[in-house]
Amino acid sequence: MSRLLVCRPDYFQIDYEINPWMRRTNAVDPARAIGQWQALMDVLVHDVGAGLEQMRPVQGLPDMVFTANAGVVVGRRALVSRFRYPERQREEAYFERWFREQGYEVLTLDKNLYFEGAGDLLGFPDTWFGGYRQRSDIQAFPRLSEIFQREIIPLELIDTRFYHLDTCFCPLSGGEVLYFPSAFDSYGQAAIAQRLPEDRRLVVPEEEALRFACNAVCIGKQVVIPAACPRTTQLLESRGYRTYAVQLDEFMKSGGAAKCLTLALD
């Protein structure tokens, strides 16, 4: 059973603006946010069959709900993120404590390297892809590659709306990738194409990429995606995936959706 780390959105709101989606004037409806989060959890547990690990939310840290950025977990080792923006740096200690309490071997990178966890590091069993420039530093990847003994192909993120790799790139269990090519420069697009032949690249149209179609959770042949992404749904279903659409627009106010709200633990 896949286990996911999640965090209730009890204190989720827009307290600051660190990506183009965030507007402090665009207030979160707390009850609606909790309802959407709960609906996502229900789908993950009851439909997809995932197991959930919950960590306690912390007042004053609204973005802790986005556990994808806690770090990267491989087996019993957890590498904790180092956030670029001071607004989120305070989350690091809480994530680290949680990993320690759960008995993970906790790893960290050099203090001067930014790396925002599974938000910027995704991939297939042997090859990973690392998003850089917006949040994570490219220099983090050679170190991560050494620690986890995986090839990591760095991809520059050139569109500030797609500030984490998981907002525009979603590897699927069948070896395909769901992605929005324009979020990458020509070198990144070529590097992706070199690794994944055309029939394994599922291109998401821009209007659905902007509704976070790539911020999906894939477990086995099931994919949980944000609502109102019909073409992406169709693409996935044509490849034999079962899709579950969840309304997550309260979280998009902060620049996140299904994938950002979870961290794969194994």
């Binding site: 042997d126 490219i138 220099q139 990847f141 050679p142 760095p154 520059e156 070198y187």
Partner: protein, 414 residues
Amino acid sequence: MTASQETVFLQGHIIDSLILAKVLDTILMMGGTFDLQDVKIGATRDAPSQARIVVRAPSSRVLGEILRAIQPHGAAIEREEDCRFEPAPAAGVFPDQFYATTHLPTQIRLDGEWVEVEGLEMDLGICVDPAKARARTVPMGAVTAGELIVTGRDGIRVTPLARPTERDVFGFMESVVSSERPHQPVIADIAQRMQKLRAWHRQGHAGAKVLLAGGPAIVHAGGRDALAWLVDQGYVQVLFCGNALAAHDMEAGLYGTSLGYGLAAGRSVPHGHEHHLRTINRIRAIGSIQEAVRSGVVADGIMAACVRRDVKMVMAGTIRDDGPLPGVLTDSMEAQQAMRAEIHGVGLALLVASTLHAIATGNLLPATIPTVCVDVNPAVPTKLADRGSFQAVGLVMDAASFLIELARELGWRP
């Protein structure tokens, strides 16, 4: 001007991700150039690759812009160190670990600043004046005790020559020496270059002098009139030669022979072998070549033209010189110094028909000076080309044919 440069290091999965390609393209697109050094490709897919890249730019401002652009892609600037130096332990002796120069533009790092080394020449040491932030090359024999000499290899940058902007024979950066190579287009390019240099020299520009280092075969083979004409027309400002070129040139003027052969008749004349000795003796009696020309005793030929045009002449003697002629430097270190002093301001060097003078001059010249080596023996231009200079052209041909063709290109109509 020497380009600014910095060494950066890139590592990780930089090949398949095209990060290396992106960094290199960025350098080029922003007006820089690069040298890829120490590229190590990961042996397996999960093993990282690494590359050390020397980034060069036409100015420090452009270099700064390039570095700012490539750093986000992981290019880390390598920490540079100041150069090290030690006092010379005695006069004429370098410290043990002295740095030996090349003939390429060189900078040393003093107190965090890159300082240009003056007096570019291969196989010398570098003497440093930290107080004035200056550095110059110094020959081993000329160093005085206590002078600060650069040691080791840290904090020293040697810049390969940038591709010359002119699209002539010097711009192709080939060092091919072949007797099959067509001469005419090469000579035409040299003539064009000399025309330009003469105009610049007349306008008072620095670095526009033409140096000719030649052997007596110029006279034997019949190139005397052509070279004299070139000197008279102001195409040559510096002449390096030995006792023989001067002696046979004046022998030709006084006796019509070169080493006893009648230049017009083409055969030896009775007692002709004495002519060059009688010539040398005559000039020794007069006291100097200059005086022999001024008094009208030597009226034509290369020496006469050089005296008339006030060409700087350095005559370096060899072991079995006859005489020698007045003005021939018989102390080879003194001759070396005199030649070195005249190299400054040279913009083109023609090394014609003299193994000895061609190689001595070649080794005194910085790689930045376009150089033509003409010899019937391919070994001479080949040796010059082996110096690795991008601006050296070798012509395997007879000295007289070269000079006559060159003079004709420049308008000589005998």
